[in-house]
């Protein structure tokens, strides 16, 4: 409930004559905790973060500080990424992994969302489900892989099972938390406006939970990538992890790095999709524009 003009009013007016001091003040403004910074500054900072990593990489590899076997140069990796796609059918690996993510994640989300909201909204569900889920959450999904291979083999079902175990349990708890944290006043107000319990659930708890749900889906899809690649590294006939594993057998560090960078790029894209979805679905949310 802050007045829109409150912040500007407290900022001291810049003295037009003292250019140096003004610049210094502008720089120090960037370090005000939790205050927004100009868009240009945020884009520049984001790009220079990437730039520094690549520059460091370039210095270490082109400068001959690390051998090209241990750390292939950016251009070698770029070239091998290109040949991977052109000659080695890497696109089908990428698609195989992406499809597994989509299916496995969808499966997890479809069950985690209603269950999580039920746990967060109704104490009965919480009392029944939460202890079990909390316990399973601490069992690493990667530890299940040997068992899942015995149960499902090394193909698609096993991959989906690994993703499901890795994503479903923590995601359910996060979503339960979202629903549980819906401000009490929103519910109480609904009762004083004549809502039944059912209406409170459908008209208040559900809509109040959606933004947090989508936010947590975005986080959950990151876990899906981690667990899928682990599963593919253990056993697979195709997929990005499979490519990385075969590259490692032939000591092709450039291809390994190309694979890792591909995963990073896909992760950024999925993240972007979820952020976009959040903005489109929840124009009313306070945090738009993150």
């Amino acid at each position: 409930m802050s007045e829109g003009t409150g912040l500007e009013a407290t900022r001291p007016p810049a003295a037009p004559a003292a250019g140096g001091r003004r610049r210094r003040r502008r720089v120090s403004n960037l370090f005000a905790p939790k205050e927004p910074i100009p868009r240009a500054a945020s884009v520049t900072l984001g790009l220079s973060g990437f730039g520094i990593v690549i520059a460091l990489w370039a210095i270490l590899s082109y400068g001959g500080i690390m051998s090209s076997f241990f750390l292939p140069s950016p251009s070698t990796v770029a070239r091998s990424l290109y040949t991977l796609f052109r000659d080695y059918g890497f696109a089908s690996d990428v698609w195989a992994s992406t499809r597994r993510i989509m299916l496995g994640f969808l499966l997890s989300a479809v069950i985690a969302i209603p269950l999580g909201i039920a746990i967060g909204s109704f104490r009965v569900f919480q009392a029944f489900f939460e202890p079990v889920i909390a316990a399973v959450r601490y069992m690493p999904a990667s530890a299940f892989i040997p068992l899942l291979i015995i149960w499902f083999g090394i193909y698609e079902n096993e991959k989906l099972a690994v993703i499901f175990i890795g994503v479903f349990f923590p995601l359910t708890l996060l979503i339960a938390d979202v629903s549980a944290n819906v401000p009490r006043e929103l519910v109480q107000i609904a009762y004083t406006l004549g809502a039944s319990r059912w209406q409170v659930f459908w008209r208040v708890l559900l809509p109040a939970s959606w933004p947090g749900v989508v936010d947590n889906l975005r986080i959950g899809v990151g876990w899906a990538w981690t667990y899928l690649i682990v599963a593919e590294l253990v056993a697979a006939d195709q997929g990005i992890g499979h490519m990385i594993l075969s590259a490692s057998r032939f000591l092709q560090t450039d291809q390994i790095m190309a694979g890792i960078i591909t995963i990073g790029a896909l992760g950024l894209i999925t993240d972007g999709i979820f952020r976009w979805l959040y903005r489109v679905l929840f124009p009313y949310a306070e945090r738009v524009g993150r």
């Binding site: 409930m1 007045e3 006043e185 109480q188 609904a190 208040v204 109040a208 929840f282």
Partner: protein
């Protein structure tokens, strides 16, 4: 039309450290169409008392009657306004106001009529389609009041509704509320810790004392209505304030 009658209400909360008496044997009566303020230091149980009137909390003992009927749960007869977190962020201003009527299944045209009228009364015409986050704190509370009034409740229960507003906005919100009240003449129970606010708004002030929350004194405010900012500086106002301060500070 309906007044509020509180009979021997006590509220004991069970905590890990034993039971805490939030309210002890409070009885009070607010006549119909009366503006009553409940003041007291924090911990005096004034918000708890309001929640009991709303039916959101069941008292350990005692009863609350509204318009002669016993309260045994929240209902649309008792509109409530909280200090914050009140508007539904996913609904536009007009939809927030229509929330109550829509729950009851009031037809759309009729709902529009109600919300249009309230938007006009609250000087919010230009903001019907805005989301709550686009409004200032003072405007948000006007929407919250409009939403409570849309149900045409018998009484309005307000829990420090202006507590989160800055001093200037708060003062205009208070004047605004008196206008609304003079128009709608609803029984209002208004909880605040701001004595000036209580005197400016109320016909009667119930002063509570803490640990456990008890009704300390009933102060009649006989300043003429409609009241204006000029009343705040008068000796009569100052005398009332002095008296209430002494009661609260012991």
């Amino acid at each position: 039309m309906s007044g509020i009658d509180v009979h021997g209400v006590s509220m004991v909360f069970e905590t890990k450290r034993g039971s805490v008496t939030a309210i002890e044997e409070v009885s009070l009566s607010i006549p119909d169409a009366h503006f009553a303020c409940i003041v007291g230091a924090s911990g005096c149980g004034k918000s708890t008392l309001l929640n009991i009137m709303a039916g959101l909390i069941q008292p350990t003992s005692g009863t609350v009657l509204i318009g002669g009927e016993e309260v045994d749960g929240p209902s649309e007869d008792r509109g409530m306004v909280f200090q914050r977190y009140t508007l539904y962020p996913w609904l536009r201003v007009q939809e927030n106001i229509e929330f109550g009527p829509k729950l009851k299944g009031v037809p759309k045209a009729e709902r529009r009529e109600i919300s249009d009228r309230l938007l006009r009364e609250m000087s919010l015409e230009g903001f019907a389609h805005a989301y709550p986050k686009e409004l200032s704190g003072g405007m948000q509370q006007r929407v919250a009041i409009a939403r409570a009034l849309a149900n045409d409740p018998k009484v309005l229960l307000m829990d420090e509704p202006f507590g989160a507003l800055d001093a200037l906005t708060r003062s205009s919100a208070q004047r605004f509320l008196t206008e609304v009240w003079e128009q709608h003449r609803r029984t209002i129970a208004f909880v605040t810790h701001d004595i000036d606010e209580a005197i400016f708004l109320g016909d009667t002030i119930f002063v509570m004392s803490p640990h456990p929350g008890r009704l300390r004194e009933i102060v009649k405010v006989d300043l003429p209505r409609p009241r204006s900012l000029d009343d705040v500086g008068t000796p009569a106002f100052g005398a009332l304030k002095q008296g209430i301060l002494k009661l609260i500070l012991g």
